[in-house]
Amino acid sequence: MRQKITKSHFAKWALVGAASLALAACSGNADEASSGDGENTIELAEFPDRPYWGDTHLHTDNSVDAFGFGVRLGPEEALKFARGDEVTATTGAQAKLARPLDFLVIADHSDGLGATRRLYDAPRIGVQAMGDETMLRWYDMMHESPEQSQRAIGELIMAAAQGNLPDAMNDPEASAEATKDIWDTHLDTLDRYNEPGVFTAFAGFEYSLMPDGNNLHRVVMFRDGSDRTKQVVPYPGLSTTPEGLWDYMDAYAESTGGKALAIPHNSNLSNGLMFELTKHDGGAMTADYARKRARSEPVVEVTQIKGDSETHPFLSPNDEMAGFGVKGWEIGNLPLSAKTNNAMRAGSYVREALKRGISLEEQLGVNPYQFGMIGSTDSHTSLATADEDNFWGKHTGNEQANKERANMAQNLGTRVGRFGWHYLAGGYAAAWAKGNTRAEIFDAFQRREVYATTGPRMTVRMFGGFDFTEDDWDGDWVRRGYTNGVPMGGQLVDKKQAPTFLISALKDPDGANLDRVQVVKGWVDPFGVVREKVFDVVWSDMEGERALNGNKVPAVGDTVNRAEATYTNTIGAPELRATWTDPDYKWGQKQSFYYVRVLEIPTPRWTLYDAKRFGITLSDAAMANSVAQERAYSSPIWLSPDPEANPKAADTDKE
């Protein structure tokens, strides 16, 4: 029989091509409501009346590292899971959220979007033909075993950090075509799952700039549907600069009429580079640069699986509750290619950045770091989980199938210095919006009316003004808050009197009681020195057992049963409210900010649940850290001097 390199062989290929085109075409026809920004599609509340819960930082199998770590769930499963459907996790178990999320940003790495999956799926001989030994070795490792695959991705991240990725992975032009295909298909999927009023699916990507392994990553999130987002492709992180990213976002807004914002994360792994006093290139900070940064980055992700970046005990020695989620992460940058020293900490933590921001505002008239705070997961499993009793791991290699994950060394394949128990279960973002649409949630982010939690869904309100009183609680205090003041994320101007805040924290209805509510204040003192102070504002049983002991609030206690991984709500309070006036306020105080920190009573961490569930014994270090007080961070309210009363500020304020 005469065997040709047959036409039918090619015909088959052509058919596959045509089929995928047809598929793309038929998946693109989501209706108008779900394919746009959702404006005018649902009835809106008069004021933001409830927080909407979401994760803005989820990776799927389109992420170069997530795929290598082993995840085989794509964006579609991720969306299903987030909206409350049951899915089968990569490692086989069934997974479901007890309480569905309201919104999701799938943030796959823009660099090498889909590249590892393409590499994995390629025939070996094809990879060989590329003539790159490193690629071929990674290919073989990925196919050999899950452990080897994780090791390969560890090497890949290290190579990216050191700027020596193989050309085949690093050439934006060569991969542009593939990126465009994945991106367009992905945008169609998002439109199909976006249901205004029910579930919001945002387009986004992760920008993964990482000079020398210092983490300068951002999540970019779009307000718009595919009609606009298809006009661009995700912006590459490797060998670019943050200013390039901001220009890209500006150009997007200009050319499409849409909007995008960027959310920095894991400043704790940036070795001081995330919140510098200078520009990214080391030049002196200018008002223009500060303005551009503040406009592009209205929110930062303060807490996630790879640690918490609120503050470090070195920076806040007088803050007893500082240091949550710091262990392990504080020792070095992302791939641990460089250690962190104390001099670097100021540029790595969020509270200090807020302080640097007001200090720079004193000098420039513009605050580059006027941002709100959210939490997210950064999960690489396609599963947006943040609850301690439902931890699915940072990546597929430490999903629940890996029973010893808490004790294991876990640093991206290099296995140095960091352990499984250092991972947090992940945080969530809460947005005060008038309805659940792309436009409403995005706009809440842009006006910073958002807050972070380390997982529990506490409801946190904060209004700042000058004439709030204790009596406001008896009436419609939310309306009072909005009409007589500003909500979290807002800006007040000094009125020669101390600012007063209405603060309310309601526990997670299915979670732990609250220990206390604190206000963190940062301000520039008359000598130009930036200072901080933490005030205990209201706490449970404050008139009784926990009456002030000198200046100190007695600890709330601890009901955690270590052997059973249980706790009881016999201590703490379901809700804490306060009308709080700054006792330290002085007329003429310079730039300042106030944000709320809410603490839960101590509860078991995911490690303790693992120990109980899987019958493992935690290492001593892990056991010592198996109980924690989860928390929420509100976005700050800023108080600025009256420009009329301060001629210098008035001059520089004119843009």
């Binding site: 029989m1 060569a174 409210r577």
Partner: protein
């Protein structure tokens, strides 16, 4: 270096092992194997084939190949095909873990492929719709009033007073302070879950709509007296009245589950033809 020591070095080279092994297999087949069909050693690269190669080049590089470049693509293609066919002839695909997995994946893909593009018939969609009503019903809607109490005794006392009918006009004044809505109108089940929690929802679901105060029932916050006025469990709309969005959702669901189903069925059919023994 003597010839012997050089030979010893060579013999350590894996490539030499490979070549010798290959030669041995080749000789074996040449001697005992099926005679090679001369037709299987002919290779036509038609104009269409070349057009495909040209197109593939263009997709990667963003421009058409020059003649020289196309020529190289063709040579590359021929080389790959020749090696591929000979590799098959030598049985190099046998016991290769990667090839094995790849082939299995292809079987899965083929089983699912048809469903990827198939346009389901209305009837298929309707059957699927009828089988999964919970996916398409709107959330149940709740209308109730609630009074919050931090302590059980206070809640019990209050409910007795209210039951005796000394209804105060402003029940909201009876609540202990809490930032929860005191009146809820047509709130979706999901929002009740989000704001009041699982425990409260479970307890409200045990109540019958009634215009009297009942309780106390417990939530994660404390105790509630509840006057459940309405609980509407909506039925899914008739299939013919589905909106475009709902139809799309339906098609999505159908497609996803059909693909999974076909893979499973395909495997089951093949698997049944095997007798499998797994040694203890």
């Amino acid at each position: 270096m003597s010839f012997n020591s050089r030979l010893r070095l060579w013999l350590k080279e894996p490539l030499v092992h490979f070549l010798i092994g290959g030669l041995a297999i080749y000789l074996l087949f040449a001697w005992r194997g099926e005679p090679v069909d001369p037709a299987s050693r002919s290779l036509d690269v038609s104009r269409e084939d070349q057009a495909q190669l040209s197109l593939a080049f263009e997709k990667t590089m963003g421009r058409a190949p020059t003649d020289a470049e196309l020529d190289r693509q063709v040579q590359k293609f021929v080389r790959e095909e020749v090696l591929y066919r000979e590799a098959l002839r030598l049985g190099l695909d046998v016991n290769d873990g990667v090839v094995r997995r790849r082939m299995a994946q292809k079987m899965d893909l083929i089983a699912g492929a048809q469903a990827e593009t198939a346009q389901p018939s209305n009837q298929a969609l309707e059957e699927w719709y009828d089988a999964h009503p919970e996916r398409f019903a709107d959330d149940a809607k709740y209308t109730f009033d609630q009074i919050f109490k931090t302590d059980l005794a206070g809640a019990k006392m209050l409910v007795e007073i209210l039951k005796k009918g000394s209804e105060s006009n402003d029940f909201t004044a009876l609540s202990d302070p809490i930032s929860l809505p005191k009146t809820v109108e047509n709130m979706s089940r999901k929002e009740v879950l989000d704001r009041f929690g699982e425990q409260m929802l479970r307890n409200v679901d045990k109540m019958q709509p009634n215009s009297a105060w009942e309780g106390p029932i417990q939530s994660g916050f404390g105790f509630h007296l509840v006057r459940l006025k309405k609980r509407e469990v909506s039925k899914p709309a008739p299939f013919d009245e589905l909106s475009d969005t709902a139809k799309l959702k339906l098609e999505n669901d159908w497609r996803t589950s059909t693909i999974a189903d076909r893979k499973k069925r395909g495997y089951t059919i093949l698997r049944e033809a095997y007798e499998i023994e797994i040694a203890e």
